[in-house]
């Protein structure tokens, strides 16, 4: 964390004091909370103007190049930091945010008159159904994840540590209809993705990496807007900084690059070095270059039913034989990947992964299996 010269006297949490004592006279911006008890009502954070999704003064809306798929929900992301502190640049992983930072993500759908939600990013004449707002708050003792569920009246969201399960009827605007079980993760489940490796019990943000934030909003680089607002202290010119491809924009990268960006965002928070699923040997970060780590002709370790009887994670040229593709298209809780946070298939994302596997060099994998036992024993004794 770096401190701007003007605020040197009030480093970190101390700089929040004026806000805390100001109480009712505080300006109409967010109210920081650094420890329990966390506000029961989202409104008490004052991230948005009363009951709306219009950001309060000082709150910045941001976007990512490639985002996690969450049952076709639209997402509104905001960032806010206390006066006088800012995030520090990191080439890899999330930016280093200061104490008091509030990241919010509101999941919402366009909604039709009969209450069914639209999954085709429809606009025009439709209302909005807000389902949940998740906060990641950098409190006194590190990051805290707080799930808020919106009420039926859509007037307020309430803290629900146990998350929620919303049965939603969906429509795609082209005659397709169905039902989806929308999961709001409980706080333990927040941890299952946001777990900070190596520090027991601590969390970290995932999406707010420099590369994923490095995009143009309007005509200007988003990172420049963060700097202007005082949210980002240092780092290279956005033009010289890494930029994660936009998974569905061919202008931003090849099929392979975009597929790898997609896998990075959907998978690498678990399938990365020293992350919860590293024991699988399948590591899907954007910078991973070892074919085996990417699952290419790699047999599964303990996939169980998740293998679907397939022999390798990724079989070049053969998406249907690839466990990775099989699990990404599954809707069964004990088979599907990611494990949490989706009920529907992401058809467009799957099409990209399919194309990537189709275009991988090679055709199939050598059959597994070690020949006869006697030969295997002989091989071992030779070694």
């Amino acid at each position: 964390m770096k401190t701007r010269p003007a605020a040197r006297a009030g480093r970190g949490a101390l700089s929040l004091l004026p806000w805390l004592v100001a109480g009712a006279c505080a300006p109409p911006g967010p109210v920081p909370h650094l420890a329990e008890p966390w506000p029961e009502r989202l409104g008490d954070w004052r991230i948005f103007r009363d009951g709306s999704l219009e950001p309060s003064p000082g709150v910045l809306v941001y976007e990512l190049n490639t985002a996690l798929f969450s049952d076709y929900a639209a997402k509104l992301r905001t960032v806010w930091m206390p006066e006088g502190v800012s995030a520090a640049w990191r080439d890899e992983g999330p930016l280093a945010f200061p104490a008091g930072t509030v990241l919010s993500k509101t999941f919402w759908y366009p909604v039709e008159g009969d209450g069914s939600v639209r999954i085709d990013a429809a606009s025009g004449g439709l209302g909005r159904r807000r389902v949940e707002t998740r906060l990641l708050v950098r409190g006194r003792d590190g990051w805290v994840a707080l799930p808020y569920l919106w009420n039926a009246e859509q007037s307020e969201a309430f803290l629900r540590p146990a998350g929620g399960l919303e049965m939603l009827r969906w429509s795609d605007g082209a005659g397709g209809r169905g039902e989806l079980a929308y999961l709001v993760p409980n706080r333990d489940q927040c941890r299952s993705c946001h777990d900070a490796a190596g520090e027991p019990g601590s969390l970290r943000p995932i999406g707010t990496t420099a590369a994923n934030l490095n995009r143009d909003v309007g005509a200007a680089p988003q990172l420049a807007a963060w700097r202007r607002r005082g949210f980002l202290e240092d780092g290279p010119d956005p033009a010289d900084a890494p930029r994660l491809p936009v998974w569905d924009d061919p202008a931003t990268g090849s099929t392979a690059d975009r597929a790898r960006a997609y896998l990075e965002v959907q998978c690498a928070h678990c399938h990365g070095p020293a992350r919860p699923a590293d024991a699988s040997g399948l590591l899907l970060g954007f910078d991973e270059s070892r074919p085996r780590a990417l699952g290419i002709c790699k047999p599964p370790v303990a996939a169980g039913r998740g293998s679907g009887g397939r022999l390798h994670d990724v079989v070049p040229g053969r998406p249907e034989e690839s466990i990775l593709y099989f699990r990404m298209q599954s809707r069964e809780p004990d088979v599907m990947m990611p494990e949490l946070g989706r009920d529907l298939r992401h058809e467009e994302g799957l099409a990209l992964i399919r194309r990537w596997i189709d275009e991988l060099e090679g055709d199939g994998c050598e059959a597994a299996g070690g020949g006869s036992r006697a030969r295997a024993v002989a091989r071992l004794s030779d070694g």
């Binding site: 399960l165 409980n186 333990d188 027991p200 169980g304 009887g309 494990e339 597994a368 299996g369 036992r373």
Partner: protein, 420 residues
């Protein structure tokens, strides 16, 4: 949930669950089901070390996974195995029923977890775990679509499973993997693919259990490509291992799909195993099978892996009535292997079977003593069953007894001393 006033909620949930049970596909969660979940989960989320979270008597329908992560010293307690039922038959999201991670000194007791989509009770990366008077099962009986594991501690230390019941798991009913210091006692495993399985685990005592009607009764495996390897020092004693003859229903691709139907006790690639005082009866393929990982015909890519079972001491067991109905598992290699055994050895197959695949540079030190009239054979699988031998003479020896496992668990007495 300690607070009163949940009785009406419970009654309405039970009625909803009864209605829901008639449908085919998982029905949407009953109104209020998520309310019960929410209250129980919120209590678990707020629990401080030493807290006892009580679940009242009754059948409670849950639509999501209960979780406990990074909070030590918590007890989750029902009113008794047959009185408090956590019913996941309408589960819509999450693979497990109850998932506990990085939470030391965890105790779960007095409840049933049933019909989960995936594993029933998974406990990972936690120390000093007690699982008492807990039942996990799938009410439709053995089925490929059942969850993989019933009671499933993995990467844990000091695990006690006492008075548990596990049934219907499509992998293993009572399973402990990649763990250190484990006691499984006075429990029952019935109608699973693997009844009780100790995998890549060191210092385990499995005693006074009943394993019956599974594909394989008790398995002691050490497998490659897992973060924790070198399973050793496992004692299997005073168990009843009876008529494990359920046709293997593991999904294709699962490792236990290779376990032949009718296996009593199987040791694969594990070192320092002592099997004694067990009653092993009517297991159609073999009472006790001691095999190398090579029988699976899987390629070994893991340089650090030792595929041979060594220092296995089998003594004072009562083995009878088995070997008369050899049958393969659901995996092709397993069917092929059992056919080859039938051809090479004839039926009934021996009570104690060794695949004969030994390390190239040392003696496997397999010892058999005082197993009554049990018949033994060396299948010589390394040479495609060329010179099988029924002579137990070369294996009439003893090995030093393994020590009893002493758990680091507050207030727990160590297991009984082995009978001599």
């Amino acid at each position: 949930m300690r607070h009163g006033g949940s009785r009406r909620l419970v009654a309405s949930l039970a009625a909803a669950a009864a209605l829901a049970a008639c449908g085919g596909a998982p029905p949407p969660p009953a109104p209020g089901a998520d309310e019960f979940y929410r209250r129980l989960q919120e209590e678990l989320l707020a629990a401080e070390p030493g807290a006892v979270v009580e679940v009242p008597e009754g059948r409670h329908s849950l639509s999501r996974t209960l979780t406990l992560s990074g909070r030590p010293g918590i007890t989750l307690r029902g009113a008794g195995m047959d009185r408090t039922i956590l019913d996941f038959s309408s589960q819509r999201v999450g693979a497990e029923g109850v998932r506990v991670s990085s939470s030391d000194d965890f105790t779960i007791e007095g409840l049933t977890i049933q019909d989960t989509r995936g594993d029933a009770l998974r406990v990972e990366k936690s120390s000093r775990i007690a699982i008492r008077d807990v039942k996990t099962w799938w009410s439709r009986g053995p089925h490929e679509q059942n969850g993989a594991y019933g009671i499933y501690p993995v990467q844990c230390r000091d695990v006690l499973v006492d008075g548990a019941v596990a049934s219907g798991a499509s992998d293993a009913g009572l399973y402990v993997g990649q763990s250190t210091r484990v006691v499984i006692r006075d429990s029952r495993a019935e109608g699973n693919v693997a009844g009780i399985e100790i995998e890549n685990t060191s210092f385990a005592d499995v005693h006074d259990n009943v394993a019956t009607g599974n594909t394989g009764g008790i398995l002691v495996f050490d497998l490659p490509d897992l973060p924790v390897q070198g399973g050793r020092s496992v004692r299997i004693f005073d168990n009843q291992v009876i008529a494990n003859d359920e046709p293997n229903f593991a999904p294709a691709g699962n490792f236990v799909a290779k376990v032949p139907t009718g296996t009593g006790i199987m040791v694969m690639a594990n070192d320092d195993v002592e099997i004694f005082g067990n009653t092993i009866r009517d297991n159609g393929t073999a009472g006790i099978a001691i095999v190398s990982y090579y029988v699976t015909e899987e390629e070994i890519r893991d340089e650090h892996y030792d595929p041979f079972p060594e220092r296995v001491f089998v003594h004072d067991n009562d083995i009878s009535g088995g070997g008369g109905a050899p049958a393969g598992g659901s995996a092709f290699q397993s069917k092929k292997l059992v056919l080859a055994l039938r051809f090479a050895l004839g039926t009934p197959l021996p009570d104690i079977l060794w695949d004969g695949i030994a390390p190239p540079d040392r003696e496997p030190r397999l010892c058999l003593r005082d197993n009554g009239a049990a018949r033994f054979a060396n299948a010589d699988a390394a040479n495609d069953f060329a010179s099988v031998s029924w002579d137990a003479g070369p294996f009439d020896c003893t090995l030093s007894r393994l020590e009893a496992v002493v758990l680091e668990t507050a207030g727990e007495a160590p297991g009984p001393e082995p009978a001599t």
